[in-house]
C-alpha cells in the first residue's frame, strides 16, 4: 500500500525564498504544501495543519518558540521530533550550512523525509547564490555610476577628456592600492564638500 502523501509546512518570512521552496516541492510531487510568512498565531496554525514535515530558515528568531511548542503535546497533537535523523550528520551539516532546518513527525521513516530535506537544502543554496549575484550586480552598477560622476567632475573642473579623466582615476587608484570606485567615491564626496554644484 502506498503511504499517505506528506503534509509539508514551509515557514519563511522571505516570500521569494518560500516561493522557490514551494515550487521545488510541487515539482517533486508534494502537493500538500502550506507556506506561512507571518509568525503571528503560528501555534494555532500548526495545531490545525498538523504537518508531517516543517521546513524553516535557520535565521528565524522564533525557532526557540517552535521547538518548545513541539515538545509540549498540548500545542501540537502529534509529537514532532527534531530534524531528520541525528545519525545523518552529512545531511545535518549541509542543512545548517545552507541555513535551513527541518522538523519531522516522530516515527516518520528517514527515506520518506530525506528527499524533502535535500530539495530544501539545494533550493536554499540556489537562493543564496541568486541573492549574492544580485548583490554583486547592484554593487557593480553602483560603482560604475560613481566612476561616471567622478569622471564628470574631473572633465568639468580640470578640462580633461573622458578618457584622460578615467586614466587619472585609474592611475591614482593604482598608486594608492585602492579600487577605482573608492577613489571615485572620495572625489565625489570631496567635490560635494567643496562645491555642491559640481557633485550634483
Amino acid at each position: 500500500m502506498k503511504p499517505a502523501p506528506l503534509d509539508v509546512l514551509v515557514i519563511d518570512e522571505n516570500r521569494i525564498r518560500a516561493a522557490v521552496i514551494e515550487e521545488g516541492l510541487r515539482e517533486a510531487g508534494y502537493t500538500d504544501v502550506t507556506i506561512i510568512h507571518d509568525m503571528a498565531g503560528i501555534a494555532a496554525r500548526i495545531a490545525t495543519l498538523e504537518p508531517d514535515v516543517i521546513v524553516i530558515d535557520l535565521e528565524n528568531p522564533n525557532r526557540d518558540m517552535l521547538e518548545n511548542m513541539f515538545q509540549l503535546s498540548r500545542a501540537v497533537k502529534r509529537p514532532i521530533a527534531m530534524f531528520v535523523d541525528r545519525s545523518d550528520t552529512a545531511s545535518i551539516e549541509a542543512a545548517v550550512e545552507a541555513g535551513v532546518s527541518a522538523y519531522v513527525v516522530d516515527g516518520l521513516r528517514k527515506e520518506r523525509v530525506k528527499p524533502i530535506l535535500d530539495m530544501a537544502i539545494s533550493r536554499f543554496n540556489a537562493f543564496s547564490r541568486m541573492a549574492r549575484e544580485l548583490e554583486d550586480a547592484r554593487t557593480e552598477l553602483e560603482s560604475r555610476k560613481l566612476v561616471d560622476r567622478a569622471k564628470g567632475i574631473l572633465m568639468k573642473s580640470r578640462g580633461l577628456s573622458e578618457e584622460e579623466a578615467y586614466t587619472l582615476l585609474r592611475k591614482t587608484a593604482m598608486n594608492q592600492n585602492r579600487k577605482i570606485s573608492e577613489i571615485a567615491q572620495s572625489l565625489v564626496t570631496a567635490a560635494g564638500l567643496l562645491g555642491p554644484e559640481d557633485a550634483s
Binding site: E59, N60, R63, M69, Q71, F83, R86, I92, E97
Partner: protein, 409 residues
C-alpha cells in the same frame, strides 16, 4: 601564532565578556583571534556549535546540561568551563498588570515576595471571574529565566504550569509582544527589560538578583570535542575572558563598555539602554528608579566560576518541571557538564583568586564572606533565594522531594 576561535552570541548585555575580550584586545594578547558571530536564536547557537561552525558560544547556563541530557535536537556534547557573569535578568509586566499588582500590595522596590503574592491574588481573582490565564514569556525552556520565574511564582503560591501560561519569545521581541498585549509579562536579560521601560509599555516588577542573589545566568558553552583537541587554545581563551571580566567589572569602564555593546555588530541598541544594568540603578517604567545590589556581576564574587552547585540546581529544576527524569545518572551528567577543573588550570598561573571547592551550598551566605582560595583573597556572597531556602548540592534528591511537596496556596 594566533589561534582562530569562532564564538556565537545573542544580542544581550551578558555577551559583554566575549565582546570586551575581542574589542579590548584581551583575546589577541593571549594569541586568540576571536571571531564573534551574532545569532537570532539559541537553537541556531546550538546547531552551529553541533556542526562545528562555532567552537564556543554564549549560552544560557542550563543549555549545555540540556544538550548533554539529550533534551534538545542536534545537541553535541558540550561543556561549561566558565560562567559569563551572575544576574542580569528582570521580570517586566504590562502597565495594566502592574497597576493591579500595586492594588494587591506589590512593593515598588523589586521586593519579590509582595510582588509574587500580588500576582497570586490576581490569578485567583481572574479565575473567579472566568478571565483567561495571564501569559508570561521567557526566552527558552532551558533557561535561568524560565526556572527563576517559576521558582518565584511557585514560592508565592502560583502554579506556573496551571495558574498561568508560559510561552517562548526571543529577547529583542519581548517589549513589542508586551506592548501589543500578546503577553502580560516576561522574564528576560537586559537590555530587553529597559526596552519596555523606554517604550513606555512595561514596569519592571522584580529582578533576578532579588529572586536569587548572585545566581548563574550565562556560561561559555564549549564543544567538548573541540575542547579536547585544543586544550591550549581553550586555556588562552579562558584567560582572555577572565581579563575581560575584570575590565567589565570596573565601574570606570562602564561607559565605554555600554558604548561598545551598543555597536551595530553587537546589541545594536542605544548605550543608554545598557547602562542601568551595569550601574545597578534600574529605571522601573513608572518614573522611578530602584537600585538593586549585584543586579549584574561580570567579575566580583567569583562571577565567572562554573560552580557545580549551579549545574545541579538547574538539574533539580529540570526535574521539578518535568523536563527530565530524576536519576543518579542524569544528576552526574549535569554535575560533569560544568568544568571548574579547566577554569582552575587556566587561571591558576595568573594569580587569580580561586575558590577551593567546586560546589557550595547556595543561599548559605547571609553576608559577604572571604573564602579559602588559592593565591589571593576571594569574597563571596551574600547570596541566596528570596524565600530563605538553601540548596545543598550534596542533597539534591532531598531538595527535589521537598519541592514536590510544596503546599498549594
Amino acid at each position: 601564532m594566533s589561534h582562530l576561535v569562532t564564538a556565537g552570541f545573542l544580542p544581550l548585555l551578558d555577551s559583554a565578556l566575549l565582546v570586551a575580550a575581542r574589542e579590548k584586545g584581551f583575546a589577541r594578547e593571549e594569541g586568540v583571534e576571536l571571531l564573534l558571530v551574532r545569532e537570532n536564536s539559541w537553537a541556531s547557537i546550538r546547531d552551529r556549535l553541533a556542526v562545528g561552525h562555532f567552537n564556543v558560544a554564549h549560552m544560557l547556563a542550563p543549555m549545555p546540561i540540556a544538550c548533554n541530557l539529550g533534551l534538545t535536537p542536534l545537541a553535541t556534547r558540550t561543556i561549561a568551563p566558565m560562567a559569563l557573569g551572575l544576574g542580569g535578568n528582570a521580570v517586566t509586566v504590562s502597565q495594566t498588570l502592574w497597576d493591579e499588582m500595586r492594588g494587591n500590595g506589590a512593593a515598588s522596590d523589586f521586593e519579590p515576595r509582595s510582588a509574587g503574592e500580588a500576582l497570586a491574588a490576581i490569578v485567583t481573582q481572574r479565575a473567579t471571574q472566568g478571565l483567561p490565564l495571564l501569559r508570561f514569556a521567557v526566552v527558552h525552556p532551558h533557561s535561568g529565566h524560565n526556572y527563576e520565574l517559576r521558582y518565584w511564582l511557585a514560592a508565592c503560591g502560583v502554579d506556573p504550569d496551571s495558574d498561568i501560561e508560559i510561552v517562548i519569545v526571543p529577547p529583542p521581541l519581548m517589549a513589542d509582544a508586551l506592548g501589543s498585549q500578546r503577553i502580560d509579562g516576561y522574564c528576560v536579560g537586559e537590555p530587553w527589560n529597559t526596552a519596555a521601560v523606554v517604550k513606555g509599555v512595561g514596569r519592571i516588577a522584580t529582578a533576578k538578583a532579588a529572586i536569587w542573589r548572585s545566581s548563574p545566568e550565562k556560561v561559555l558553552g564549549v564543544a567538548a570535542d573541540w575542547a579536547e583537541a585544543n586544550p591550549e587554545t581553550l586555556t588562552a581563551l579562558l584567560r582572555a575572558l577572565h581579563r575581560a571580566a575584570v575590565w567589565c567589572g570596573d565601574p570606570a569602564n562602564h561607559g565605554e563598555l555600554a558604548a561598545m555593546l551598543a555597536g551595530p555588530a553587537y546589541v545594536d541598541r542605544p548605550a543608554d539602554w545598557l547602562l542601568p544594568a551595569l550601574s545597578g540603578t534600574i529605571r522601573t517604567g513608572d518614573g522611578g528608579e530602584v537600585t538593586t545590589r549585584d543586579f549584574f556581576l561580570p567579575h566580583a564574587k567569583g562571577a565567572t566560576f562554573p560552580w557545580k552547585s549551579h549545574a545541579l540546581w538547574f538539574y533539580s529544576q529540570m526535574v521539578r518541571w518535568g523536563q527530565v527524569a530524576a536519576s543518579a545518572r542524569n544528576e552526574a551528567i549535569a554535575r560533569d557538564t560544568y568544568r571548574p577543573d579547566l577554569y582552575r588550570s587556566a587561571l591558576r598561573e595568573l594569580g587569580v583568586a580561586l575558590p577551593g571547592a567546586n560546589a557550595k551550598v547556595e543561599g548559605a551566605l547571609s553576608a559577604a564572606t572571604p573564602v579559602g582560595s588559592a593565591g589571593a583573597s576571594l569574597v563571596l556572597g551574600p547570596d541566596g533565594f528570596f524565600d530563605g531556602v538553601t540548596f545543598d548540592p550534596d542533597e539534591v534528591s532531598a531538595y527535589i522531594e521537598r519541592q514536590k511537596r510544596l503546599p498549594r496556596v
